[in-house]
Amino acid sequence: MKTVGPYAIEMEGISKVFETNRTVALDRARFRVSKGAIHALVGENGAGKSTLMKILCGLERKNAGEILVDGIPKEIRSVKEAYANGIGMVNQQFHLIEDYTVLENILLGVEKTNRWGLIDRRESAKEVQKLIEMSRLELPAGRKVSELTMGQRQLVEILRILNRAVEILILDEPTSVLSPREIDWLFSIIRELRARGKTIIFISHRLDEVFELCDSITILRNGRDIAEGTLSDFDKKQVSFLMIGEPLGALNPKRSPKQCPVLLRAENLSVRDADRKTEVVRSVNMMLRGHEIAALVGVSNNGKQELVEALSGLRETSSGNIYLKDKKMTGSTPRGFRKAGIAFIPEDRVRMGASVSSSVLDNILATKYFEAPYTKRGWINRKEAGKTAESLIREYRIKGASVHAPLATLSGGNIQRVILAREISSDPSVLILCEPTWGLDHRSCDHIYERLYELAESGKAVLIVSSYLDEALRLANRIFVIYKGEIIAELENSSSLTKIAIGELMLGLGRPLSQGYEGDGSSIKAGSFDGHTS
């Protein structure tokens, strides 16, 4: 099993030790990519994928090993040098300037100037517009990034690298925040790039995607490469076995709910956006029952985020009411919502859902410290907190140095696990979570699903917000579709419900889609919606 040359990239004997927490992230790893291939890099959370790619693009320094680009040894000490060598990377954790516009972000570092050295606005706008059009996207070039959804931000990141005309393109878990439609768009772009002779490195935990898209693969485990080869030599079972070192357990079956009392109820709920002008959620009525998992789906910018933030007390409502059981929650503080038993995991994990510079322990404690047994008359019981943290780390298999290390030293997937572990363990009566399996490897996904089922079974209500329709269909008993701030459909999840049908509703169409659509939210312009991969 070998990938074939000539290689665009050869990394030999790469080692990386993080001094801060003495973690061996990479241990003499070898990584080779054939020219013009779409190459998958897979591995468990914390296997070292991101670190390896960051070394390749100059964001991290290696401790040992050598890098060859097109057969020539290269030292890549900064992102700039990586660009100079034709290497560009899309990180999963976004690296965009929030208060720059899409246009400014795309051109950052490669601005067009006129002969006075000033930025040529007209030329820039033209260029970016052309880029956006060429990639068949619909992105507001003049909008600030802070106003975009996570999916749109991901697209901006990708466009930015495309604009750099790199030869080797690294995509670190690009699909986790994208909608099915956007994923299709991305895959077609990637294939187009391959056709133009570019090399693409693709990191994903979704093996379906890997097998659909890629030509060859490298599997990383505990910082070492344990297999590489053309993808046709592998099957999914084999790959996941190689990734985790043990066979994958059987999929847990979906469970059907009992009829249960309503736990959370929104009544004519409306929410205005930040500048209080437009209503982004309009008179929503919805109910979450105990014993069930519901899903909220919708195209970005249709009020999904605002609605769940309002339901969890983080956003002011402009009218209507929220009830937990029969208690009116409207106007209560975020703390009030938490105390009443509503837990929430936001989409923006790194900024809102966690404090990356705080320790793992503090991150876990943050939503618990004010209650017994962690606090007593204003004093925190750190021992108790430490015990809880340790047990969560064990249960959720969180891999990292210690509970006292800053969260930022954990791998992306492990950060997700910390957040999930914290919220699920708070034993909420209602759990609202966005993108439940974002960045998680296969095994962790199953683990999380299991936890969600358990929660539901014990009589709690779970609402997931997922852009991954497969997941929604697999987990949920009921699916709410939001469009332009209104819940336009509430569907029972039965075998007759298809992704295509949901997709149409999400676009505000009542009939099968044939031509384009006029929806204002989605980023993709034309082309048919034909569900997700495989």
Binding site: S78, K80, I97, D99, Y100, E111
Partner: protein, 293 residues
């Protein structure tokens, strides 16, 4: 009345210069609080060189040069040795305060006031035609060269920050270090440039303080560097805002000076005016809801 309005601009000039310098470092995410010291150092050296060469150009050059040197040194300490920029800034202030008096006693054998009447004078410039406009003329015209330069510098800074790639990169570095790095922008160099520029502008501020007076007195900046920092932040990180903030402060100071002379009040209470007005202005103005403390 004309005199009153005319007195505002010269009062603003040193603060505006220093604030423009501070602005660059603020935007780069490494706020230099050593402006006070840089101004002082430049004030001393500009007077010294003016005395030696009788050439204002060289004097300004020397002032700027020494202040940039110290600013870059501070940058080296903070960026290479990862010293805390705030403490380094306090060090710059302390150093300039001590070092100038030491040099003054070595070179001029006085620790007090260094005053040369025979230095070349910075003349007041009447803008042709403009100064003859009724009412407006006397307000727009008749300032020193450095006063005009300060206003020009504010415009130039606005262009640099908002129209050139350098400006975009610098602001990106300050906004999100990682993101900038990811776009291939060198955080290190942009912060160093910003500090060098703070040296340049604070240096000009020092010249604007000392040269028109042909005087150096130890500690003659008297907190103007701190006021400049207030202007940087009050100005919302924009050159236009910084200009307005400096202008407000200049006007408030002029008002305080004016009222002091004949008000039947404790002069100390009069001296709170500039700060009070600035504070009131901050409270009244619309503060964008961006978080960050």
């Amino acid at each position: 009345m004309d005199t009153f309005i005319n007195s505002i601009v010269p009062m603003m000039t040193p603060v505006l210069f220093a604030a423009l310098g501070g602005l660059f470092t603020h935007l780069s995410g490494l706020l230099n609080i050593g402006l006070e010291g840089l101004m002082l150092l430049s004030a001393f050296f500009s007077i010294y060189v003016a005395h030696l060469t009788h050439n204002l150009f060289f004097a300004v050059l020397a002032g700027i040069g020494i202040s940039m040197l110290l600013a870059v040194f501070a940058g080296f300490l903070s960026l290479n040795l990862r010293a805390n920029i705030f403490v380094v800034g306090l060090g710059v202030n302390l150093f300039a305060n001590g070092f100038t008096v030491m040099l003054s006693s070595l070179l001029f054998s006085t620790k007090g006031t260094v005053f040369f009447q025979n230095l070349p004078k910075l003349s007041y410039i009447e803008i042709p035609l403009v100064h003859r406009i009724p009412y407006l003329g006397p307000i727009l015209s008749g300032y020193g060269a450095l006063d005009y330069l300060a206003i020009g510098a504010a415009v130039l800074c606005a262009i640099i920050l908002y129209k050139t790639p350098y400006g975009y990169h610098l602001r990106a570095v300050g906004r999100d270090e990682k993101a900038a790095q990811n776009a291939g922008i060198s955080v290190y160099w942009h912060r160093l440039y910003a500090l060098a520029l703070s040296g340049l502008f604070a240096g000009l501020g020092g010249c604007a303080l000392a040269l028109p007076l042909q005087t150096f007195v130890g500690g003659m900046t008297n907190g103007r560097g701190w006021i400049a920092l207030v202007a940087v932040i009050l100005g919302g990180g924009k050159p236009s805002g910084v200009f307005i903030a400096s202008l407000i402060f200049g006007a408030a100071s002029a008002l305080s000076n004016w009222l002091q002379a004949s008000a039947p009040m404790s002069p100390k209470l009069m001296m709170t005016l500039p700060f009070l007005i600035t504070l009131l202005f901050m409270i009244v103005k619309k503060n964008n809801t961006e978080e960050g403390v």
